[in-house]
Symmetry: C2
Subunit: 266 residues, 2 copies
């Protein structure tokens, strides 16, 4: 039994969907969330820069006494996961591998779509992980840069969101995918829209939920779980603009989002 | 006569619309453009951080031998223009004052709209500048966070862009504005769409074009203009991700966009 919190970090706000999945899956675990709102987005930054920022955040989280770290950011997972694992004294879990494995297992025919930011798609990290889990899978990827700002505006069901989703998903629909990985932490908020556009026969894989499952298994394997009676607490920290984090973040996790402290890194 | 280039900077790509306006207005002037693509966007960053970044860029541009600097970024103009002017050995011109003055002069009835990023609108800088130029003006502001990613996708005439524009502009239409300031350097690419949504009776003010006029007057006043026979050259520098800068930047200024050098600041 270990009552220390789990660290979670993202380049900004999106990782809160992963936090939410963790709260649901592991209700007795406390967490510390760090959003690097001063340096968001990581997508356009070079892999070296993303690695440097990610290691700074890991060091800060470990300094807060976390027992494990969840990289709730696809870009950081793609570019920095190995470096973080090599550097870290606690287990580090990324969002890509759990989502890729779940998709590989869920797909009936092996035609799997992946959507994400331009940076995540360009990194090819999901395609590689899916091919490792299921050699021969046909992976169709598409970058959807307008989805993040749509989610941050709260336009989950706006007619414009539907037009945009239809355009982005058309190549995947034509490729007859049977499974779609939501390869960006903002996208779970668009799930009902995406399901409607693709039809109910396409299975949506939420990387955040799959990651929460992977964290649960890792804690158990290392005997790091909190006791069943523990009262979980959730801390939040950002590197800039706390007001916007709270305003937009409330769309992600509602009133579980408390005041965030502002921490300068780097 | 002074053949030195004019420095132009922005947090990223958008300032290229200001560069384009300068090329058109001052065809004999050479320029050096700096896009801070490693640290874009400036909107969510604190005013102190924006000032620090802006001064680093100014110092770099002055080190390249520029005779004047254009702050082709609304956020940087809002938070850093005074600090830059106090710090600089060459004239520094921002984008807000020229756009605000032009709107104050162009408006028949004094009902003036301003659209921009969330950061620019929250700074209130346009509203203050318009009120200074035309006391009693009624200023209606609206943040349009989806316009920048729409422009960067190149969806200037997409049906989704029209739906989004109708929603954002509705409060301004209801306020019966007769003049609209495009308070973000990306927005000139949406001009035909915005004009169609608002109707031809609303006058659109492009801050970039007005700024080019202000630069022409400043060079003349300080006897800094290049000679009429000069062959202009245009250099580009970015702090990260040169490939994306060229790809998206070509939508802004076409084949005038050459290869950009990558420069590390800070």
């Amino acid at each position: 039994m270990n009552a220390s919190p789990i660290g979670i970090f993202d380049s900004g706000i999106g990782g809160l969907t992963v936090a939410r999945a963790l709260y649901d899956r592991l209700p007795h675990e406390s967490t510390v969330y760090f959003g690097d709102t001063a340096r968001v987005p990581y997508g356009p930054k070079s892999p070296e820069t993303v690695r440097r920022y990610s290691i700074e955040i890991l060091d800060w989280l470990v300094g807060q006494g976390v027992k494990a770290v969840v990289v709730a950011c696809n870009t950081s997972t793609a570019h920095a996961l190995e470096a973080l694992q090599a550097h870290s004294s606690v287990p580090v879990i990324g969002v890509i591998e759990p989502g890729a494995r779940a998709a590989a297992a869920a797909s009936a025919g092996g035609a799997i779509g992946v959507i994400g930011t331009a940076g995540t798609i360009a990194s090819n990290a999901y395609a590689r992980a899916i091919q490792r889990a299921r050699p021969g899978a046909q992976v169709e990827q598409w970058a959807c840069p307008l989805f993040v700002p749509l989610v941050e505006e709260g336009w989950f069901e706006h007619a414009a969101a539907e037009l945009i989703a239809r355009e982005y998903l058309e190549p995947l629909r034509r490729a007859r995918i049977d499974t779609l990985v939501l390869g960006c932490t903002h996208y779970p908020l668009l799930k009902p829209l995406l399901q409607r556009v693709l039809g109910t026969e396409v299975r949506l894989i939420d990387s955040g939920e799959e990651t929460a499952g992977a964290v649960a298994r890792a804690l158990e394997a290392d005997s790091l779980s909190a006791s069943g009676g523990a009262a979980a607490t959730h801390r939040f920290a950002v590197s800039d603009d706390e007001a916007r984090f709270r305003q937009v973040g409330a769309r992600f996790i509602g009133d579980r989002l408390g005041r965030a402290e502002v921490v300068s890194l780097g």
